[in-house]
């Protein structure tokens, strides 16, 4: 079989970036949660908030550390596998990606150290400010990366001079058409991820009767947050979809499994898209609903895949189904959040074990939904690497051979599998250890922590193996 360097490079990028993305999407939400906890603690002086904050900061540290390790690889992927793309678009992407790195380092250098190791050594107000600035910093960092990504979907503010792209307007290029929607959608996704993980973990503790007061507080506030954010996310997602319809109609057609440009398009709940014959099998749908959602009228004409030549169609099956996974999980999240409200109003929130078990399972769903959403938008952009400007085939490294891409793909899978299982295992140990063993911040512990490395993982003091404490 011929090894296709383009396909393998896409697979490799998808693998590396998916693996990386799950960490920041969690830490961005968690950083804000910690900032809120610290804020409440500062105001109320109730130690239970500090206990919660200390515990979740430990989790934050480890996940942040894994994000950094997996992120280093990303900085080199553009050059190794997509050198033509990097070279041609560097005038814009170079500074933007660098700003992301620079923001991350600035954040780490200045405020993360205080958040992880500064409790009791800086005034409480400053400590809280550091927590806030870490949260703000994670957002600025994601702003840059999403600006770069959105620009690849809706390029603006650049022109070709000879072979290379030059920036004609930094403002237009950075604040391109899809950035506001993507940024809002991702920001909410981060909060939902943080929220569902905190809810799931708190529920797990509550089922075991551990640290009931603290975990009830955490669960209660998270459920309020989820109640507001889950429907809001559906609304923002809809706006994002309309924006995509305007700029990338072929992607929306693939998301809807709509082959033909027409009115009265049904919303498909199930279908088996068949790209070969340009049709669907086993369609089950709600009549006119897609037209209503996208054009606000039952006979609204919705663009179909027939608008673009066959070779410019994205792979429909993957886009269609990953979109459904994302939306399905989103609806499930709304249902779970509303169930929480119902139980609360009936006064049964703390006496319904099955609901805690549901929350426990729900804690992994945001990760799946986020990845499914990214698959939808990224695969749906195909065959374009920069929409309308450069295809995957034009962006790939010319000297790259199939076997080279395959070798490093397998290599990264092995490396990440080892690192990931180590990290995940350690995270589980932290969760099992819980809040009970946290050292009080007396003179002695302050003494030993000054000798400690100012690095993310060293904020966690849980031993690696069973019974080593």
């Amino acid at each position: 079989m011929e090894l296709d360097p383009i396909f393998l490079s896409r697979l490799q990028f998808a693998f590396v970036v998916s693996f990386h993305a799950i960490f920041p999407v969690f830490t961005i939400g968690l950083a804000s949660f910690i900032a809120v906890l610290e804020g409440i603690y500062l105001k109320t002086q109730n130690p239970v908030w500090m206990k919660l904050s200390q515990f979740w900061t430990k989790v934050f540290a480890v996940v942040f550390g894994m994000g950094v390790v997996s992120g280093i690889v990303m900085a080199f992927q553009f050059g190794t596998n997509w050198s033509n793309f990097s070279y041609i678009s560097a005038n814009f992407l170079g500074p933007i990606l660098s700003y992301e790195v620079v923001t991350a380092f600035f954040l780490e250098a200045a405020f993360l150290g205080v958040l992880l190791f500064g409790r009791g050594k800086v005034p409480p107000g400053i400590y809280w400010m550091s927590a806030v600035l870490v949260a703000v910093g994670t957002f600025i960092s994601s702003f840059w990366i999403l600006s770069a990504n959105s620009w690849m979907h809706t390029p603006a503010g650049v022109e070709f001079r000879g072979e290379l792209l030059y920036v004609t307007s930094w403002l237009e290029a950075i604040f391109n058409a899809s950035l506001p929607y993507r940024f809002a959608h991702m920001g909410l996704a981060s909060f939902l991820t943080g929220g569902f993980v905190v809810a799931g973990v708190s529920a797990w503790y509550l089922l075991r009767g551990r640290e009931v007061e603290a975990n009830r507080k955490a669960l209660s506030m998270t459920l309020w947050l989820l109640l507001i954010l889950t429907p809001l996310q559906a609304y923002v997602g809809d706006l994002h979809g309309l924006n995509t319809l305007e700029h990338q109609p072929a992607k929306v057609a693939a998301m809807e499994g709509n082959w033909e440009t027409r009115g009265n398009v049904p919303l498909l709940l199930f279908a088996w898209p068949d790209q070969e014959n340009q049709t669907n099998h086993l369609e089950v749908g709600i009549p006119n609903l897609a037209s209503i959602i996208l054009k606000h009228s039952p006979d609204g004409v919705v663009p179909g895949l027939d608008m673009v030549p066959r070779e410019e169609q994205p792979p429909v099956w993957v886009v269609f189904w990953s979109f459904r996974v994302m939306v399905g999980l989103g609806l499930l999240m709304i249902a779970v959040a509303v169930t929480g409200l119902v139980l609360r109003l009936r006064g049964k929130l703390w006496s319904t074990p099955w609901y805690f078990r549901v929350l426990q399972v729900m804690s992994i769903t945001p990760f799946i939904a986020v990845l499914a959403g990214w698959f939808t938008t990224e695969i749906g952009r195909g065959p374009w690497l920069i929409y309308g400007i450069m295809t995957f085939a034009e962006g790939v490294t010319p000297s790259l051979q199939g076997w080279m891409a395959l070798t490093t793909l397998i290599g990264y899978i092995i490396v990440y599998a080892l690192v990931f299982s180590g990290g995940l295992y350690y995270l589980m140990r932290i969760l099992r250890d819980g809040m009970e063993y946290q050292p009080a911040h007396d003179e002695h512990s302050t003494q030993t922590t000054t000798l400690r490395a100012k690095r993310p993982f060293s904020a966690a003091d849980v031993p690696f193996e069973e019974g080593a404490r």
């Binding site: 550390g65 950094v68 390790v69 280093i72 690889v73 900085a75 080199f76 553009f78 050059g79 190794t80 050198s83 033509n84 990097s86 070279y87 560097a90 005038n91 814009f92 992407l93 170079g94 500074p95 990606l97 660098s98 700003y99 992301e100 790195v101 620079v102 380092f105 250098a109 200045a110 150290g113 030059y166 920036v167 490294t397 010319p398 000297s399 790259l400 051979q401 080279m404 070798t407 490093t408 290599g411 990264y412 490396v415 690192v419 180590g422 990290g423 030993t448 000054t450 000798l451 400690r452 490395a453 100012k454 690095r455 993982f457 003091d461 849980v462 031993p463 690696f464 193996e465 080593a468």
Partner: protein, 334 residues
């Protein structure tokens, strides 16, 4: 917009500064990994790792800043070097990841500690060797056409680049051993004193071979050094003096001077390499100016960097200040 002044030399300075910062700083902590299997005891390994644990990831900051900065300021370097060094880059990253994880987990582990020892040593050696091979590949130049790399997958792996790979192993080990002299005491320091002259001999041997070999394979380098005797000959003189100072300092059992002299040796060698090649940044065909990005792109990032670099430097200095002094066996970072 007409460029008011040329930012290319400024950016060349920033990237050049970033690279030497990286080499010196990550050099001594990669060096601990290279020396790890030969350490006299497990307790010595604890001390070695403790001596760099607080600072190693700050050191690697410079590598990532360098990578991103290259894409922004000299995209041609980024888009030729990375494809040309494809497999080497993967090995380097894999090595850095394994040793990075070992830092996190070795002190938290008991029964699985030997695994993290291997992960630390193997990862450090792999990453160092790959970096040395990159230097060799840079000296040899890249096969390019129309601003694209057109060579093969193993062009970077030649007898010459294997030599520079081993040279880098010896060099980082030397940085590591002299750092250990500075940071340790007792029998561990004695061990570091003992191995330093051997490592220095290996470094001098490899650097010597490179110095003779390089002018032979490159007309540019030969012309620059031998057509007229100029000020650049001060660089090898400086390197030679560094070697002398280092040897004397080790014989006199001085604490800090060996490390300082080793850093000086690296700086002189680095500058020597730079003046041999500049302004060619993608040898043999492209200069700094061929490789540079648009003026407005260089300016846009420069503004941010000028703001951030002082903070990173201050933070770095502060970290080294906090962790100054000897690392004692049995205490420190857990």
């Amino acid at each position: 917009m007409e460029p008011v002044f040329d930012l290319v030399p400024i950016w060349a300075g920033i990237i050049g500064f970033g690279i030497i910062m990286y080499v010196l700083m990550d050099g001594f902590d990669l060096g601990q990994g290279i020396l790890f299997p030969f350490a006299p005891s497990e307790e010595a390994r604890d001390v070695m790792m403790n001596s760099v644990a607080p600072v190693w990831d700050g050191n690697e900051t410079w590598l990532v800043l360098g990578g991103a900065g290259l894409l922004a300021a000299f995209p041609l370097v980024y888009s030729v070097f990375l494809p040309a060094l494809y497999l080497g880059v993967f090995l380097m990253l894999a090595g850095l990841i394994f040793r990075g994880v070992a830092f996190e987990f070795r002190f938290k582990a008991k029964t699985s500690r030997y695994l993290w020892n291997w992960s630390f040593a193997g990862g450090s050696m792999l990453a160092t060797f790959a970096q040395g091979a990159v230097v060799g590949a840079y000296i040899q130049g890249f096969e390019t056409e129309n601003f694209r790399y057109v060579g093969g997958a193993f062009d970077w792996l030649t007898p010459f680049s294997i030599l520079t790979g081993f040279g880098m192993l010896a060099g980082y080990a030397l940085l590591g051993s002299t750092w250990l002299i500075l940071k340790s005491e007792g029998y561990i320091q004695q061990w570091a004193y003992k191995i330093t002259p051997y490592l220095l001999a290996a470094v001098v041997l490899v650097f010597g071979i490179i110095s003779i070999w390089t002018p032979m394979i490159s007309d540019l380098v030969r012309a620059r050094w031998f057509d007229q005797i100029s000020l650049i000959w001060l660089l090898p003189v400086g390197a030679f003096l560094s070697v002398v100072v280092l040897l004397r300092a080790v014989m006199k059992r001085q604490d800090g001077m060996p490390f300082v002299a080793t850093m000086a040796l690296f700086v002189f060698t680095y500058l020597g390499l730079a003046v041999s090649k500049l302004p060619y940044i993608v040898p043999p065909n492209y200069t700094l100016w061929d490789a540079a990005s648009a003026h407005s792109s260089q300016l846009f990032l420069l503004i941010g960097l000028l703001f951030v670099i002082p903070f990173v430097l201050m933070y770095t200095a502060w970290t080294y200040w906090v962790f100054r002094g000897k690392v004692k066996a049995g205490v420190g970072y857990h």
